[in-house]
């Protein structure tokens, strides 16, 4: 497979996993992405930050194929995926943990966990997943996904895509509305995923959390990337980011 190589900050060349260029998207007549450009290298954790309505979730939904009306170029590991159906994109190893978590109330917790089919042998075993999220172990028999707390639902939503062997994760505001102790648990999980070589594109508004886990940050505003920072941030840059995130 043909793969682009790009120089990283420390001078080594790393394969580019995802390259989005001049991406435009519409909801009906309403034009919401205006030429997005971003790159995610293999093994990186990159964030998309920006205020509500900036176009972060829409960008993820263009990548996973759910967004209908989209134009531009999305290359994943050398393949153009812009015109592909979501199920085909998923089978290439891109997994989504959506903003609404998509925990199914008509499925038991166990059924929710086992719903996504395995893509390869490299996924985590259920035991490894329970090591990451011990709370889920006791909840496996729960009759409906809707009976879980918000934090448990979020863990389940992450856990079930780790089983499949997908190694490129789209996470949409996983910390939204969760207690600090659960946010810490998710941060710890992301660190482990980084060690295991997963690539993550993370949408966040929680800057402190983002800073604790990410390699790089993109700032999104009105459907465009307006700035980018590597994670070794000066105080001046932090102030700039806070400004991008404020209403």
């Amino acid at each position: 497979m043909e793969q682009l190589l790009e120089n990283t900050a420390d001078g080594t060349a790393a394969a580019v996993d995802l390259e989005v260029s001049d991406l435009n998207a519409w909801y009906g007549e309403s034009h919401v992405l205006h030429g997005m450009n971003l790159t995610v290298r293999k093994g990186e954790l990159v964030t998309l930050m920006g205020r509500n309505g900036a176009g972060k979730s829409t960008t993820l939904n263009c990548i996973n194929g759910l967004m209908r009306k989209r134009k531009g170029r999305i290359q994943f590991r050398g393949t153009d995926i812009l015109r592909m159906a979501p199920e085909r994109i998923a089978r290439m190893g891109i997994a989504t943990c959506p903003e609404d978590r998509a925990i199914f109330s008509s499925l038991t917790v166990g059924e929710n966990l086992h719903l996504p089919p395995l893509l390869n042998e490299r996924g985590m075993s259920v035991e490894e997943i329970f090591d990451l999220f011990p709370n889920l172990r006791d909840r496996l028999g729960t009759a409906s996904g809707a009976k879980l707390s918000g934090g448990e639902q979020q863990m389940l939503a992450i856990a079930r895509i780790l089983r499949t062997g997908a190694d490129f994760l789209l996470l949409d505001e996983p910390t939204e509305g969760l207690a600090p102790i659960i946010i810490d648990q998710i941060a710890a999980t992301l660190k482990i995923l980084g060690e295991r070589g997963y690539t993550v594109l993370l949408v966040e508004q929680n800057f402190r959390f983002a800073q604790s886990v990410a390699d790089r940050h993109y700032m999104v505003d009105e459907g465009r990337i307006v700035d980018q920072f590597s994670n070794d941030l000066s105080d001046q840059m932090k102030q700039k980011i806070e400004k991008y995130l404020s209403l």
């Binding site: 194929g65 759910l66 199920e87």
Partner: protein, 292 residues
């Protein structure tokens, strides 16, 4: 109560269970289709009729008897439904569900019209397979074997479908796709294909009911119309899209209809709709509908 009236009641309850077997099969198909496609399939009656005619046609022209027809015809009806779904429905999923209703209503009229032109409106008899002739006296009621067979098949199919949906991994995918098809697609599951297969299965149930109905009611182009109206009442009472609701309300209404024939015959054809009105007033989402 004297002996005669017990026999009378038992007889009508039996007829009710038999009618209910058809209601349940048809309503089950409607419920599955509604859950997955968000379309009220007005063709269900026409495809029931198609199943019955298929049984007659493969018998006349290919020499395939009842037992063969019982397998072949639901498959043919299912394939026909799959073609219709691919050709016509794809275009309307994104717009108001009302279009689905209008589309299937229109297709139903066309299908029934074609059969009326070719076969006329008079019923065509279809005979009971030899091995199921006769019946057994259960003491309180005489049970023709064929009708017992119909009840048995309907129960097995309804229960099997319910188990498959509620208790298997494939069923879990189906339930999940009903809730949030987009999210399920991002797991690599081909939801559009599942939708097509679901429609095929849902209408195959109508085809199966049609084949089983052929020897009881005669085969005619309008046989699907009246049963469809009752089936809609069943689905509304059970709760739109509820599998259990469709099955329970199907048999339940059949029995209520039968009992009404004993105690208040004049109301027997309207009791279903009275029941529907009462349920709608008390529980607008139906007996098993999920309350919002």
């Amino acid at each position: 109560m004297d002996h005669l009236s017990i026999q009378l009641i038992a007889g009508q309850v039996l007829i009710g269970i038999i009618n209910g077997s058809f209601y349940a099969l048809l309503a089950l198909g409607l419920a599955i289709i509604f859950g997955m496609l968000n379309i009220v399939n007005f063709m269900q009656g026409a495809l029931y009729m198609l199943g019955a005619f298929m049984a007659y046609i493969v018998g006349e022209h290919l020499g395939i008897g009842y037992w063969g027809a019982l397998i072949v015809c639901p498959i043919l009806v299912g394939l026909f439904g799959i073609v219709l779904e691919r050709v016509f429905f794809r275009a309307i999923y994104d717009i108001d569900p009302v279009y689905g209703l209008l589309l299937t209503f229109g297709l139903a009229i066309i299908i029934e019209g074609i059969f009326r032109i070719i076969f006329g409106s008079a019923g065509i008899p279809y005979s009971i397979p030899d091995s199921l002739r006769g019946g057994i006296n259960l003491g309180f009621v005489f049970l023709p074997y064929y009708r017992g067979w119909v009840v048995l098949v309907s129960l097995v199919v309804c229960l099997g479908t319910w188990l498959a949906i509620e208790k298997t991994p494939i069923g879990a995918r189906l339930r999940a796709a009903t809730e949030n098809p987009g999210a399920v697609r991002t797991f690599g599951i081909n939801v559009p294909l599942m939708v097509t297969c679901t429609y095929g299965f849902g209408v195959a149930l109508a085809g199966l009911a049609g084949v089983m109905a052929a020897p009881i009611y005669s085969v005619s182009p309008q046989m699907g119309t009246s049963i469809l109206i009752v089936t809609f009442a069943v689905v509304v009472i059970g709760g739109l899209g509820s599998i259990v609701g469709a099955i329970v309300a199907g048999y339940g209404l059949g029995i209520i209809e039968g009992l009404t024939k004993v105690f208040f015959p004049e109301a027997s054809s309207t009791v279903v709709f009275v029941a529907m009105a009462i349920i709608l007033l008390l529980r607008p989402k139906g007996l098993f509908g999920r309350m919002a």
